[in-house]
């Protein structure tokens, strides 16, 4: 039946567009309300090229051109939108959707309001079938329409495969990490804006290809086909199936088309609806059903598929936790290499002075603790050093490199990493993925490498996974490896944060209240880990702490900050033994126990 074939063909084409939408919205979490624009760019590019420029038989080239046109459009839209830290992304894409049609109608090479007709059919070089072309396979004869359906379904399968590769890859993992918490991704050396832009371009490209397919299927493109209505339909398809699942996106497309066509039958053929009401009632019914679906199940049918990582066969026996004798707290006799220095840091927020001239240095193998009451400027210093805040004045160097004014990702790549006061693990990544996503130098995080050098990517990933398991063992999280970050207890999250920063392997570690809220019974494990960072891994460690026991146990050097300045510094014994200082800081009761 031509009708069923036509409906299925359109479904196959739209599924490709929804795959692209899934990458942008589901995988990357970008709220994008202008998807029909990418579809339209692809369709129009193909239409214009094949009706005016390209010779017959150039269908594959046309599809590629459509993908490119959409990606170019995404670059134009995405670059300013994403640079403005993504909040405006929704507004920009929505406006583009509203404006796109106006532009298309008023330009002449797009055919204006009447669109472009006579777009050539499917063809491939010398194979240029006419409408009546038949494929005789002996047992069955396929019409052109049926062959076209097979071709389009083939494209759907191809885009499904392509998008699956992306979702399952280290690049996909990076995108999800950026989705979960973009700032943390930057803190571990990843350029979040570039990642988001790249997935936007890829998603747009796939959608543009779908638009091309549509142009060649329908042989006509016109502005009324790419309006807000279509974006909303694609969004509904994505949501219905489950926006974080590629399979969901595909199924959602089919279900939505089924709903719309089913409504046609219900209203036209079944219910005794007055004739002139059938068209508007169908639209109304669709809208109402959509609201109901969103009310009942906005999360969609199929949830995000989590990749389970198996433990590789161990080449070496697992590394025991903190096997070596821990040197007693106190001074380290040998001074390690200076890794990070900062001086005269100043930061004002409006009328408030957060940091008023702070400075210190961090050396390999040494643990420095910064203490002080809330609002003393401690976290602000960490933010400045890791690039999340801009200092008003001051200097900081990593080795010989100045770091102030660099982006967080750049600073991280120089070898500084930090944890956050509010932990901030990537909630919808699994525990092992949290580790994997933090490990540096992954070729698989670049989409180009993913497809051009898959062997190298696979090998690097295998190494990565092995190293990640080792780390999980070290931090006691191996049995939680494939659990969602969300499902961990508070203490486990704090442990994971330590594991993650270790995975990144920085020379200087800034730990912001790593033990706060941890059950005192478990404190020792944390202390052992932190001590190992310095003594065994030979890193420069800086802690912000409120727990004086921890400070006494761990710190080689203590800085006391108040009102944005380093008031005094010295060994733990010196600083914590200064009773008047402690009274000032802690109040009477604690001074007695310090």
């Amino acid at each position: 039946m031509l009708y069923v074939v036509d409906v299925l063909t359109l479904t196959a084409i739209m599924a490709v567009a929804v795959h692209g939408y899934m990458l942008i919205k589901g995988l990357a979490g970008l709220l994008h309300l202008g998807h029909a624009v990418f579809y339209g760019l692809g369709a129009y590019a193909s239409a214009i090229l094949t009706t005016k420029v390209l010779p017959p038989g150039s269908f594959p080239l046309s599809v590629a051109a459509g993908a490119l046109a959409a990606s170019a459009g995404a670059l134009l839209i995405g670059w300013p939108a994403l640079k403005a830290r993504g909040r405006y992304f929704m507004i920009v894409t929505f406006s583009m959707q509203l404006i796109f049609i106006t532009l298309v109608i008023n330009l002449s090479f797009t055919g204006g309001p009447d669109g472009l007709s006579s777009i050539p059919r499917l063809s491939f070089g010398p194979w240029q079938p006419g409408k009546r072309w038949m494929l005789d396979l002996g047992l069955v004869t396929l019409t052109f329409a049926q062959v076209k359906l097979l071709v389009m379904t083939g494209f759907t399968a191809l885009s499904f495969w392509f998008c699956s590769r992306i979702v399952d890859s280290p690049y996909g993992r990076l995108i999800r990490a950026v989705r979960e918490d973009e700032q943390v991704a930057e803190a571990y050396g990843r350029d979040a804006t570039r990642a988001k832009l790249s997935i936007l371009l890829i998603g747009a490209g796939i959608t543009g290809a779908a638009g091309s397919l549509f142009a060649h299927h329908f042989n006509y493109v016109g502005p009324s086909q790419f309006e807000l209505e279509l974006t909303m339909l694609l969004l509904a398809m994505l949501i219905l199936g489950g926006q974080t699942s590629l399979l969901g996106a595909t199924i959602g497309t089919g279900l939505m088309v089924g709903l719309l066509e089913g409504l046609r039958f219900v209203l036209d053929n079944w219910l005794a609806v007055p004739f002139e009401m059938t068209a508007p009632l169908r639209q109304a019914a669709y809208s109402v059903i959509l609201i109901l679906i969103l009310a009942v199940r906005a999360r969609g049918l199929i949830p995000e598929r989590l990749k389970r990582h198996g433990r590789p066969a161990p080449a070496l026996p697992p590394r025991p936790v903190a096997a070596e004798p821990i040197p007693s707290s106190g001074t380290v006799t040998e001074l390690g290499e200076v890794v990070l220095t900062c001086s005269n840091l100043q930061k004002h927020f409006g009328g408030l002075t957060a940091v008023a001239g702070a400075g210190f240095s961090l050396r390999r193998g040494r643990i420095v603790a910064i203490i002080g009451s809330n609002g003393a400027g401690k976290t602000t210093i960490f933010n400045i050093l890791s690039g999340f805040e801009r200092a008003d004045l001051g200097e900081a160097h990593m080795g010989r490199q100045p770091i102030l004014g660099k982006t967080p990702a750049e600073i991280a790549r120089l070898g500084i990493a930090r944890t956050f006061q509010d932990v901030r693990i990537w909630n919808r990544l699994t525990v092992i993925e949290n580790i994997l996503a933090a490990r540096p130098h992954q070729p698989g995080e670049h989409p180009a490498h993913l497809f051009l050098s898959p062997g190298r990517v696979a090998r690097a990933e295998a190494d990565n996974i092995a190293a990640a398991w080792t780390l999980l063992e070290r931090f006691g999280l191996a049995d939680k490896a494939n659990d969602l970050g969300n499902d961990l207890s508070y203490a486990q999250r704090k442990m994971l944060a330590l594991g993650r920063i270790t995975a990144f392997g920085p020379a200087a570690m800034l730990l912001d209240e790593p033990t706060s809220g941890v059950d005192p019974k478990r404190l020792d494990v944390f202390l052992d880990h932190i001590r190992t960072f310095a003594r065994t891994d030979d890193r420069a460690v800086c802690l912000i702490e409120h727990n004086m026991t921890v400070v006494k146990e761990l710190a080689d050097w203590v800085l006391f900050m108040d009102e944005g300045k380093v008031m005094t510094s010295g060994t733990p014994h010196e600083v914590l033994g200064d009773h008047s200082l402690m009274r000032r800081y802690l109040g009477h009761q604690k001074a007695a126990t310090a």
Binding site: K25, G29, L30, L31, L33, P80, A81, A84, G86, R87, Y88, M90, I91, V92, F94, S95, M96, L98, I99, T102, L103, I105, N106, L228, M232, L235, A236, I239, E276, M277, P280, L281, Q283, A284, S287, V288, L290, I291, L294, A295, A298
Partner: protein
């Protein structure tokens, strides 16, 4: 080539169109800032007020002066009803922005199509004659336009007064500013939202009635006001309730000044090009504040 016509009529018309858009923009901004939804469902409220006026004048036979308060009440009630019956559930559940956008657009589309099916897609008028008017700046402004201008300025002042001087209005401001804090000090957020929707509904109804007095009532009359209102908010920003109104005026001027020297077919391109330029150069809106959009993708 004939010399370009006087700019004054275009300024007058532009200002008039701008103030007309500003009412819906104000209502949309009110909801956006307080509740955090981009509410296209205001189109349904617009239609409710429009058809209510039609029904009360032509159906029931009331004089226009009596029908107007009735329509205002019906429009306001529709807005509150939509909040209770539809949006509240989604808001309570913390639905992400894209879900509420889809829901509000669906409400709008459903209303439009249901009216088309149940009543008729035909256009009806309740004022058949030329509206009386005055000639100013070389062009004629009729009472509907003047009413719209007056109503927008009144509405702006009224909303400001309501929010700053009354109890319920203060709760709206509080929730708009910081919902958790407001809850913390005992503000009933649900009721504040109810007030917000009521206020927005009233403003939209006040916009709808003079509009349809001029150009008639059919199921499709709400499309332009709603989308132009959104464009106005994008241009003006959301920093204070004044911003979208200013944005609307600029948009109206853009629509008309564009045509002053260029052929009329450029009207939409120039006006939307203006929106685009603001977006690229100053995404928080010309007067700031669009970053208050809550974004939970």
């Amino acid at each position: 080539m004939t010399p370009p016509p006087s700019i004054l009529p275009f300024l007058a018309n532009g200002l008039s169109l701008g103030l007309s858009i500003s009412l819906v923009a104000l209502a949309m901004a009110l909801i956006w800032r307080t509740v955090g939804i981009i509410d296209f469902g205001l189109g349904a409220v617009y239609l409710a007020a429009a058809y209510a006026t039609l029904f009360l004048t032509k159906g029931v036979g009331l004089p226009l002066a009596a029908a107007i308060p009735g329509a205002l009440i019906i429009g306001t009630a529709t807005a509150i009803l939509l909040y209770w019956a539809v949006y509240r559930g989604f808001i309570r559940r913390g639905s992400p922005l894209f879900v509420t956008v889809l829901v509000s657009i669906s409400v709008f589309m459903a209303t439009q199509n249901l009216i088309s099916a149940a009543i008729s897609p035909q256009k009806f008028y309740f004022i058949d004659t030329i509206l009386p008017g005055i000639t100013v700046l070389g062009t004629r402004l009729n009472v509907a336009q003047l009413a719209k201008m007056g109503v927008s300025l009144t509405a702006l002042a009224g909303v400001a007064f309501f929010c700053l001087r009354t109890g319920p209005g203060a709760t709206i401001l509080a929730v708009a500013d910081n919902k958790r804090l407001a809850q913390g000090v005992g503000v009933n957020v649900d009721r504040a939202y109810g007030w917000t929707y009521g206020l927005a509904g009233l403003v939209v109804s006040a916009a709808a009635i003079p509009d349809v007095a001029e150009s008639g009532v059919d199921p499709f009359v709400a499309i332009n006001p709603v989308f132009l209102a959104l464009a106005a908010i994008i241009i003006g920003g959301l920093g204070s309730f004044r911003n979208p109104v200013l944005g609307a005026v600029l948009l109206g001027l853009a629509f008309h000044l564009a045509v002053w020297v260029l052929p009329a077919s450029w009207q939409e391109v120039i006006a939307y090009g203006f929106v685009l330029a603001v977006l690229v150069a100053r995404p928080q809106g010309l007067f700031g504040g669009l970053n208050i959009v809550r974004e939970r993708a």
